[in-house]
Symmetry: C2
Subunit: 431 residues, 2 copies
């Protein structure tokens, strides 16, 4: 099949999928869990091939680690599927209901989005998580995984497809695509694909965002900030900044820039430097920072750079307003934290910083679907519509309006034979 045929099949399947009951979808998920368990040796064998090939190709050690998909990883994804099964069906929930007039009832009811195209990095567990999230939410999915994980992804997609079709899911609801040219084709399928979720390098995500008419949910940069207000508890601030920067540097929710109120800088900077030095963090400071601690010089570029490394840019600001302005200018709308004892200042910061995740007195590293308790996430969004921050099941859901009448026509209302009641009811969609 070519890309268009795959997309058309996915669209057709999505219509059928949207009408399936939660029980049907859960049975399919149960079968996936069962088959993953039964066929785990095949998976491990395929993964061994990927690991061997990637080692030969000198894939970096951290990537090799992410690529590894062993018995314990398989157990993890099976656990994930089981907790997904325990969640309520997100489809068919009545969000609101209005009696427009006697016998004319409007319901806003949740439904799947349709067809989701997902492009993701090396970890094979992402394939299982994402496709099961799509199934639970009733969406068809087109998957493009990293080529390092080619064999593992193939067997995983095959097992999921077989197990779900066997359990009555429609043919074509899940497809794997493998080549870059297929991805280019996919980005043109705005007639069939409703949403693209890219997970990969910044350049790659930006490339996707710039090259498709299909809506894209995701994030390119993660330029996260910590701001230390003048009244901050210095020990707490040191702890939070160190965790935000160093707990795991290669991820989007790691802090890249530290902003410090000038009134606390003299006390705070030497203290935080001591901890950051221990972790091997290179500090790039503005001129004022360099007057207090010994650091490299930060340039304008540093404020707009996501290092994803043991590097932190540091700037002294006059007050919180300047910090907020800096964050809204140079940040990426991902995650930003303030450390302060002052509740009103915190409230103001959380309101005025225009980011999907805004934190008071805790580490930026918390912005993550698992830590937020979503079970699994399809990604983190920095867009301003539809869904922001970590996106779980409900980012894959939308709604439609269902109107039930009994021969009602608009002419009766425009000629004032009848008038609207618009009475809010609290009823579930009845049919």
């Amino acid at each position: 099949m070519n890309m268009q045929e795959i997309a058309i099949k996915a669209k057709d399947a999505s219509i059928k999928l949207s009408a399936l009951s939660g029980e049907m979808k859960n049975r399919a998920l149960e079968n996936v869990a069962k088959k993953l368990q039964e066929r785990k040796n095949e998976i491990i064998e395929a993964n061994r091939e990927d690991l061997l090939r990637s080692e030969k190709e000198n894939l970096a050690a951290p990537l090799l680690k992410r690529l590894k998909f062993d018995e314990s990883k398989i157990a993890d994804v099976i656990d994930g599927i089981k907790s997904l099964i325990s969640l309520p069906d997100p489809v068919g929930k009545t969000i609101s209901s209005t009696e427009l007039d006697e016998g004319l009832e409007l319901y806003r009811v949740t439904c799947p989005i349709g067809v989701i195209g997902i492009i993701f990095e090396s970890r094979p567990d992402a394939l299982v998580q994402i496709s099961t999230l799509c199934l639970k939410s009733g969406n068809s999915v087109l998957l493009k995984g990293g080529s390092e994980a080619r064999e593992t992804n193939r067997i995983l997609a095959k097992i999921i497809e077989d197990a779900t079709i066997e359990a009555g899911m429609p043919q074509g609801w899940i497809s794997q695509i493998e080549t870059r040219s297929d991805v280019s084709e996919m980005l043109k399928m705005d007639g069939y694909i409703d949403l693209i979720i890219p997970r990969g390098s910044n350049e790659f995500v930006r490339h996707i965002m710039n090259n498709s008419k299909i809506p894209v949910m995701g994030h390119a940069d993660g330029i996260c900030h910590c701001y230390v207000e003048e009244d901050a508890d210095i020990d707490m601030a040191v702890k939070i900044v160190t965790d935000s920067k160093t707990q795991y540097v290669a991820v989007c929710n790691a802090a890249e820039t530290l902003l410090v109120n000038e009134k606390i800088a003299g006390d705070f900077l030497p203290a935080v430097k001591q901890q950051l030095d221990k972790k091997g963090v290179e500090i790039r400071g503005c001129e004022k920072v360099q007057g207090i601690i010994d650091t490299k010089a930060a340039t304008m570029d540093d404020w707009a750079t996501e290092y994803l490394d043991y590097i932190l840019s540091v700037k002294i600001v006059k007050n919180m307003d300047e910090a907020i302005e800096h964050i809204n200018r140079y940040g990426s709308g991902h995650t930003d934290a303030i450390i302060t004892k002052d509740k009103n200042k915190a409230a103001s910061f959380l309101s005025l910083v225009d980011s999907g995740n805004v934190f008071w007195n805790c580490s930026t590293r918390f912005s993550d679907g698992f830590r937020y308790g979503f079970g699994a996430e399809v990604g983190i969004s920095t867009s301003k519509i539809h869904a922001r921050g970590p996106v779980g099941l409900d980012g894959l859901i939308i709604y439609k309006y269902k109107l039930i009448g009994n021969g009602h026509i608009v002419d009766d209302y425009s000629t004032h034979v009848k008038t609207f009641k618009h009475k809010k009811t609290h009823k579930n969609f009845p049919i």
Copy 2:
């Protein structure tokens, strides 16, 4: 100011606007209502200029009618503002709350989207409705109205700007742009503008959708269907089809195609033809239709055409599945209705038709923000994410995650010193 300066000012203003209380915004809306009343003669005078010029330029009569903005229209928009004031503030509502761990509380809280660019057709009341909806929801707005209404739009935008700035709204939250080249510039401002809502001709909306990286909410086509099932009440079906087609033909929610189950076609088609003939509707039928009633022949193009005129394409289908397939292939995801006595068939149709508005036994013409009881609408969306169908205040709202801690760091959880509770609470955001 050039377009970029306008957009930057709007972005800066949106940050301030997002933190204003509902009372502040309502006071500004009250002042708008007051000033529109006080300065109504200026408005009527400006509108007279537009009407005179447009008459000279031979603007079509229906468009002249929409352009007219007299005392009663002014009273209408003032009423609209008053009902908007009575609505609760959509910003700052806690959607969900979770205790991640002791002292670490996550809140999902509504907030404005940011900067909205709106391009709309001739009716000047749209300017007032849209800008007051944006104000109530805390969004900055860039407005481009139709050139026919130039003078009316100028005075209206000026009054709204003056009245709101006087009431303490931030400078730059509202700007009017007037030229086509400014629109082209606006579409490039994806760094500052978060959402574009175009309201105009199909070609125009499609042009916007194809020429901006900014998310676009709206609809190009409105190819709406009525499907008459075999068991339909024929009188009811005739009434609904006639209303859907003829109640107002020049609008997106008018029916363009009628699908009829073959088992009822012999009885139904002559009956509906009689009514449609009375209204002067040209019928274009498939071959089977032509075997029952005397009509022009429909071509393949007819199924994909939005006539916006007294023309209806009619097709006989074998069963509901074929109707649903036709609608999902040729429809525009706007509004589609089934006429049937069978509850199960209705439920299935409403579930399987992939449109924002799906109706049982009532006219397609009901899909409208006013009829739905939203008070006002910014437009109707056929996109699959963020908002579908008629979009009122809540389509201008998104959310952010606010996390409150007390020195919490992720390292404690990854080293298993602490574990997450993920306890759903039902608390409002406390600060």
